[in-house]
Symmetry: none
Subunit: 401 residues, 2 copies
């Protein structure tokens, strides 16, 4: 069913849906035949909820494809991640909690080192300290470009987010990072006629930056890549008739939620307790809550199996507080897998449970990769989760007579 | 595989396929964790057949979408229900067993009450008796419109089916039912140039109807909505090379079967026994039989769990008579779920079994929602059932060299 057909069927209801996402939830056993992180974790509350739920595995993008956080989340939110792309520049800006708007063009920036002839000698400027980066970013933000506003937001070490704001900036631009040393970084070229204006503005900025940084060796030049505009997506309100809220600590996830029109709530802290308190405090005001847990992914990417197990157990302890709110529909899942043994995101389908009073329960009292692979949700595209959640919330009318 | 590719592979055979459809078969437990209607029913014959079959669950339209009877059946018949739409007017006409043809434009009609100024005071004319409706429908059918034939078929209370027959009638028409009282019902407008002729004819009819009904208060006016043309679908003969017969008591199902080119058999009664006798009597004359059971849905929609259980058990008792005919392929399934606890159609996947001497049997001796979710057919789109049935009937040639 295409999204237009779906939109036609949306009906109002007073039901509430919670989507609890443990980033990088899916895992692998330490040794073949062993238990995954989730299977190892002691999760009495999730197991009890699983027994009352439909279980399944979600495929974020397509079989064998490892998703980045952007497409992984878009799929969970019900958008086809192959149709809607979020460019690298946009992800970088979202990652520092920058409130991107429709007139913004974003890119990933690096400080780099060039020699007297302007040839790159170090693409990362010796990984300068973040404090130096912050100072230099402020300097760059002082640059004035005709016809456009500039924002430079420091990330870590040599990286920063570059944002240029002006109506009519297209993102058909070549990159200035040649991905090698010994060459002069090329200026930006417009790859289509619509992007001429943007190319001119960006090159003006680069020239000014070069002059400002000339004596700042090792960070005496910049490289820009991944130019991308803020994508336009139908909002949760338009697509699903949902008043949706996002509860997340990290900028990137807050940003992706903002992209789809969720109201990003102020968590007022960094802990899971802060996140669940935010959920409780705002319970009356929204139809849909997306609650994001980062640590599962962080430990997966670090290769720390035990710490990932611990992060899952920490979430489990909050499940009773979630259920005490009496939500109509609960989804527990992840945006992708991050097995500790791989120390990275992976392509493996993600364990998922769907709870409501109208699901056919599987009676499997365990939330894990293997139990979910036996569940009645099946192994399904992640983008199918939202229609199922809406159906269980009695928010979709009958199709056809 | 698209339908053209499929059509190319169809080969003749003398095998026979039976599709036994229990309307609204899928259900939900009365209490979380309990048994569904089908799981509760004592079905020794279906259970024995399940043990010799491949089991699975069918998704009629797409995940989370609740189908109407039209799209639910189209999917079972192997047509993409999102590609072929059956409009509301057409369903209404099929429901009263009207033999729609390619020049027909159909709509849902209501008798309503208007005041002296022509403003609607009751959209349902106080739900007049069906006998009054029959009389007034005959009166309306006497109306003559230039260039088009008119048929008015009473349904129940204030409802009737409106059919206008003439070449070149398009269905891009606005509705005359404002869905509220206090206003004068608008005339029909053509929403595209092709529908100008139809708009003219319909408005002529409405003017004449208004004059004829002026003294028939409370039913002194009519409202028309859901204008739809008879859709053109490839027939079972064209698509599958099957000589197909439909055995159904209710008009709507007979009508949908006629839409896809099945020969609709005279059942000569209303009971399951009448339907199975019709099957036996016509066994030699067709390759494919669609046999429709209505009661399962009726009781599901009424919220009568026990009566739905009884209706399933009643069908079970006829299974030996079906098997005694020695069919090559048997499908037992439903067009959608109608859980008694929801008192309506629902989005839940539908238990389905596929029996032939060439299926990989699952060895699961139970026909129910949970047993089917473990079956080797998987959880599949309903439109995939027909290709699987044809394959098992050895009616599809090899694709490619």
């Amino acid at each position: 069913m295409n999204s237009y057909q779906m939109q036609e069927l949306i009906i109002p209801a007073k039901t509430k849906i919670v989507m609890l996402i443990m980033d990088g939830l899916g895992g692998l056993p330490r040794e073949p035949g062993g238990k995954t992180e989730l299977e190892t974790a002691h999760t009495p509350n999730l197991d009890a909820l699983a027994a009352r739920s439909s279980l399944g595995l979600t495929i974020p993008i397509s079989p064998g494809i490892t998703p980045g956080s952007g497409p992984g989340h878009l799929a969970l939110f019900g958008y086809d991640p192959l149709q809607y792309e979020i460019g690298r520049g946009v992800m970088e800006a979202l990652g520092v909690d920058f409130e991107l708007g429709k007139d913004d063009l974003a890119a990933r920036g690096n400080f780099c080192t060039v020699d007297a002839d302007g040839r790159i000698v170090d693409r990362r400027a010796g990984r300068i300290g973040t404090d130096v980066n912050q100072e230099l970013s402020m300097l760059l933000e002082s640059i004035r470009v005709e016809d456009a506003e500039i924002f430079i937001k420091p990330v870590k070490e040599h990286r920063f987010a570059f944002i240029m704001r002006s109506p009519g900036l297209s993102d058909g631009l070549s990159e200035t990072d040649p991905q090698c040393t010994g060459v002069i970084p090329p200026r930006v070229r417009a790859l289509d006629p619509d992007s001429e204006k943007a190319a001119g503005c960006v090159n003006q900025f680069i020239s000014s930056a070069q002059k400002l940084l000339v004596n700042k060796r090792p960070a005496n030049m910049i490289l820009l890549r991944g130019f991308a505009r803020f994508p336009t997506l139908p909002t949760y309100q338009e697509k699903y008739g949902l008043k949706a809220a996002a509860i997340a600590v990290h900028g990137m996830y807050r940003g992706v939620a903002r992209l789809v029109g969720m109201q990003v709530l102020d968590v007022g802290g960094q802990t899971l307790n802060d996140e669940f308190m935010t959920l409780e405090k705002n319970w009356a005001s929204f139809d849909f809550f997306y609650l994001h847990v980062k640590k599962t992914d962080t430990f997966g990417e670090m290769g720390d199996f035990d710490a990932k197990v611990g992060a899952i157990e920490e979430v489990d302890a909050f499940v009773p507080r979630l259920l005490a709110l009496d939500p109509d529909v609960v989804i527990v899942g992840g945006d992708h897998s991050s097995p500790a043994v791989l120390k990275s995101h992976s392509w493996h389908p993600v364990p998922t449970l769907l709870f409501s009073r109208y699901v056919r329960t599987d009676g499997i009292p365990e939330f894990g990769e293997r139990s979910c692979s036996r569940g009645s949700l099946g192994i399904i595209p992640a983008k199918n989760i939202m229609p199922l959640a809406l159906a269980n919330a009695l928010r979709i009318a009958k199709y056809g007579a």
